[in-house]
Symmetry: C2
Subunit: 350 residues, 2 copies
């Protein structure tokens, strides 16, 4: 049995889902992979929960369903990540789940650098640090021979990076097309059934699919962030968010969506990476696109997501599905952790 | 740059496709992964082609499009794999592409054991050895800390094992359903368009999709072999071919297939692994099954293949596509080789 210390940053939906999932899965993972993940630290902006022994339990950090700090022996006010990791020693994995800031990448970017400084591996669900500082993160990880997993930031339970980087190793990927945002796909699906944009959006909000402020999703920025991170990871490029041409779905006309459907086609918000006409680089974009029924993403409806890779030697490979919930994202973080620490990867017998 | 010696067994369609692909991709792989695969040996039943230096080229093994043995300085009559590997030294990868024998697993099984004896890793496209001797292969690889990749034997370019074992690490897979045989899917697709079974089969044969003797495909045995290997790999089980309940599509009535289609559903030859009703194991089967339009494999038509995993924490994940050609299989072999020898796997920055 290999023991691995875990530090968790942030304490929102994804962090809490990860905390719960780790508890639920602990014995299964020990049995199947010989890995014992011990949650030693939860980092908030004003201090840390820290376990003096063993793994933090939910009862150590909350009382009556509320976060518990005052009078809690596990709460270390003003303890910061660097000092806490220094205390834990040079061996562990940071699970980065703070909210994404696409201007500064903070606080995630500093947390990731601090972890690398302490020779900790990192798995991340935050996208901001990857948009702002991916090049630096990648280079530091490489130099220090540390692992950095970010499936949780690239459509979560949909295995975009695993397929693009492992399953397609040795192929030349000629283009990528994805439905990478479940909210807009839900709205477009409902519009194709006759709802107006406003009605479909309201329904999505009522069902907890769209945020109260839906701009980041409906204006295509969430999909732009994801195709940007996926492209930079797979092709080793250094594009920034301003390189992605983005057009969202807000205000799209239901008549148009329904007419397209009547022709046996569909309007989908496709995020794409395609060879640039000149210069040998990639052209990144997000826009409402008409696809016909033979397209592998035609049947991806509702909140479902999907990604299609066109390759030279394997043809088209498409992966669809994967839960779009905090637990789905937590499962993607856990998957990256297991793949970092397990003995053997696969198609390998093990 | 890391140099890796390669030995290739068999010299049929897949071996030749692999040989060509390796040549085509050589500089790309050196540049992208820092790996130099050097084909030192091609093993036939009556001898080996062996390079005294560098990598074997096509001109070293064939003349005027024919295999060239007589008077060929690269041809070593009666040299066997064990002696050849002994000569090459304890470092390399065997690429196993001999025809599959489902009774004995030979010659693949002996080749694989011989490679392991010489501390070589193995990637395999042959299925026979995996049906007959997977347990032994797995245990030997584990004991000797060697890698064994077999994506090429489990639906080739469709990444069944990568997704099931890497992308779904940490999930509990609750069931697997696959369309794992392109030939039968093609026939069923054409039958749903009105052709009789005999007409659809004949068309598939004329187009080179079905073999002159189609029994292995149409009776469901090819799909059975694949679901067996996938199940044993993913769940660490030791089922044999006789544990798979198999029903093929031969003699299926076109009227039945068309009636199902008229109801908005489809008949597909599904290969499945589902929890057994008793005993805690798995029930494996292949049979023509009716699925409705919400099923993720409903839209997998023609020679295309696909696989769906139902999981606890990630929901449904489906992967479809991947070329069903010798070059697609060769690309799967190459992918496994790269993933064995590359420095870092991913969702990891590298």
């Amino acid at each position: 049995m290999k023991s691995i210390q875990i530090a968790l940053t942030g304490f929102g939906y994804v962090s809490r889902a990860f905390f719960t999932l780790l508890k639920d899965k602990s014995s299964e993972i020990q049995k199947k992979y010989g890995l014992k993940f011990e949650l030693k630290l939860i980092v908030k902006s004003d201090g840390c929960f820290k376990s003096p022994y063993g793994s933090l339990e939910i009862r150590h950090v909350s009382k009556n369903g509320q976060t518990w700090t005052d009078g809690n022996p596990f709460w270390k006010k003003e303890l910061n990540l660097a000092d806490a990791l220094n205390d834990l020693g040079q061996d562990g994995c940071l699970v980065e789940c703070t909210p994404s800031n696409y201007e500064t990448g903070q606080p995630a970017l500093d947390y990731i650098k601090t972890a690398f400084d302490s020779n900790w591996n990192v798995v991340a669900a935050s996208k901001g640090a990857l948009v702002v500082g991916f090049k630096e993160i990648r280079e530091t990880a490489r130099e220090k021979n540390l692992n950095f997993g970010f499936s949780g930031a690239t459509a979560a339970a949909l295995p975009t990076l695993d397929v693009g980087m492992i399953s397609l190793a040795g192929t030349r990927i000629e283009s990528i097309q994805g439905i990478l945002n479940g909210t807009t796909n839900y709205i477009l699906t409902r519009m194709s059934e006759g709802l107006s944009y406003a009605e479909a959006l309201k329904e999505a909000q009522n069902r907890g699919i769209a945020e109260p402020d839906p701009a980041f999703d409906v204006e295509g920025r969430d999909a732009a962030v994801k195709i940007l991170i996926i492209t930079n990871a797979i092709f080793g490029t250094d594009y920034c968010l301003s390189d992605v041409q983005v057009q969202g779905i807000s205000g799209l006309d239901t008549n148009y969506v329904c007419e397209v459907k009547a022709e046996g086609k569909a309007v989908k918000l496709l995020a794409t990476a395609a060879p640039a006409r000149t210069g040998g680089g990639w052209k990144l974009g997000v826009k409402p696109s008409i696809i016909d029924s033979s397209h592998p993403l035609y049947h991806v409806n509702g909140t479902e997501k999907g990604i299609t890779f066109l390759t030279d030697s394997m043809g088209l490979i498409t992966v669809t599905g994967g839960r779009s919930t905090p637990r789905g994202t937590a499962a993607a973080l856990l998957k990256d952790m297991i793949n970092i620490y397990r003995n053997r990867l696969t198609g390998m017998a093990y």
